[in-house]
């Protein structure tokens, strides 16, 4: 169930340049059903900035009622969020949307998880759950530069992990697709989250594989009521068919959403 929870900041840390890891505790954690779901965060008690900010759930520890989010402090909303300190209260709406289907990969099979920039966080909980199920996970993570790489070791602890950076300062120089073209395609499923052009490239490269993509859109309500976050689907030619990223997604099977 979606709830509005006044969560407590358990910790806040800058883990890479302008990239913050925040741990939050509250009963909302008990409502999370799948990796890739997100929360909608009110960054201020006032109405300025007005809108909530959608942020993916990066990790959950149900036993501690704790979840982790990882975000880039960029605009005014995320900058305000980065000023919160341990013990502060944060108004969080969630969990929202439908996450990655863990059950689509069986024990013993291999899954490739491809993330770009701030699309990387939700893949962490996904990988934890997949590996816990006996799935072999390969991670391909793309970043601008070494300065903003995060969770490299955490992913490596779960499975094979490749880093790509645009400037070559860590791992392969270039994009995740450069890594993809080098690894074996002996895998069953792929899961991906990142910028549109990346999702497009991933989908095209793995057109014959079963895959799941997580999308981003500007949001209003975050719960499916305002029609801000729609995407066309490939379903028919009338251009009338659509999905809402916030409530139908953010994760969709590859091929469903028009990119």
């Amino acid at each position: 169930m979606i709830i509005q929870d006044l969560m407590i900041v358990a910790s806040q840390q800058e883990i890479a340049k302008n990239i913050f890891e925040m741990k939050l505790t509250g009963k909302l954690v008990g409502e999370i059903t799948s990796p890739g779901q997100f929360v909608h965060i009110r960054v201020s008690d006032s109405f300025e900035p007005l809108l909530r900010r959608p942020i993916s759930i990066a990790e959950i520890s149900p036993e501690k009622n704790e979840m982790t989010i990882i975000y880039r402090a960029e605009g005014r909303g995320t900058s305000l969020l980065s000023e919160k300190r341990e013990g502060d209260v944060v108004n969080v709406l969630g969990p929202l949307g439908n996450g990655f289907p863990v059950e689509e990969t069986s024990a013993g099979q291999t899954a490739v998880l491809i993330g770009g920039g701030i699309g990387v966080p939700p893949l962490y909980e996904l990988s934890k759950q997949l590996t816990a199920n006996g799935v072999n996970c390969i991670h391909i993570l793309g970043f601008e530069s070494d300065q903003v790489v995060f969770y490299e070791e955490e992913f490596a602890a779960l499975g094979e992990t490749y880093i790509a950076t645009v400037d070559g300062s860590n791992g392969t120089q270039g994009f995740v697709t450069n890594v993809m073209s080098e690894i074996s395609d002996d895998f069953e499923t792929f899961y991906s989250c990142g910028p549109m052009p990346m999702l497009d490239a991933v989908q095209k490269a793995y057109v014959h594989k079963k895959g799941f993509l997580s999308f981003e859109q500007r949001m209003g309500c975050g719960i499916g009521a305002c029609f801000a976050c729609v995407c066309h689907t490939n379903e028919n030619a009338t251009d009338q068919a659509y999905v809402k990223v916030c409530s139908d997604g953010p994760v969709f099977p590859a091929g469903v959403v028009q990119i």
Binding site: Q4, R42, F47, P49, R218, D239, Q240
Partner: protein, 304 residues
Amino acid sequence: MNRLAMTLPGLELKNPIMPASGCFGFGKEYGNLYDLSQLGAIMIKATTEETRYGNPTPRVAETSSGMLNAIGLQNPGLQGVLNNELPWLEKFDVPIIANVAGSETADYVEVAKQISKAPNVHALELNISCPNVKCGGILFGTDPEIAKELTAAVKAVSSVPVYVKLSPNVTDIKAMALAVEAGGADGITMINTLVGMRLDERTGKPVIANKTGGLSGPAIKPVAIRMVYEVSQVVTIPIIGMGGVTCVQDVVDFMSAGASAVAVGTANFVDPFVCPTIIEQLPARLDELGIDHISELVGRSHRI
């Protein structure tokens, strides 16, 4: 005595608080969060004759104490609303105000005629003011004569009272109000959004795909209050006020300005529980103000 109850044409309101059109879909999403029977009424998303996809994305952008939207009247169309949306709402004890939109008079008339027959639709809200639809729509909202004719045409076919929603993007809001009153409107809802734009900081291009969008939220409240204040002094039909309402004081302000009920739009996105919270807090605020019944607030800004 229910000190929050208000009676308006077609509407017996338990309390004067209702979500504004377009900010509450057709109720389902919020219905999962709380009991919709708590609300005074519900203004559902604009309904057009045919199914509409609306504008390309991005459709929203944030501004100082406000937001821009250019959804473009996305909706499942008249039949979709009649068959799938309205019946679901029947389980709640809450009157529905159906927001009616179109590109020309015939569209409005057709939607009004049919949707006004739905058992839980107690009133129509004629959306002559949506700034995000290209053809026609904008004209209806800015020309008094055309607005009057449209109102009369819809009144002629509607089975329920008709409220007309005014656009603030006009030189003379009083003239618009008087025109729709003369056209037979049973009430006025105001204000719709102000036309605005935000540019991308880096490229300088409009952030919203539609380029312009409608400005809503606390930023526009002073304009809305002024317009309700002005209009309520020249018309005799009741006003449902809106524009930037976020808290119980804002409701007091709109009613003081001259509104008989108040709609909450954008604030639902910030706090999905804002409507029930306001309703819960109203009696205590009336106590603080020494007011018995909420109707005593109406128009006190200009009463002597």
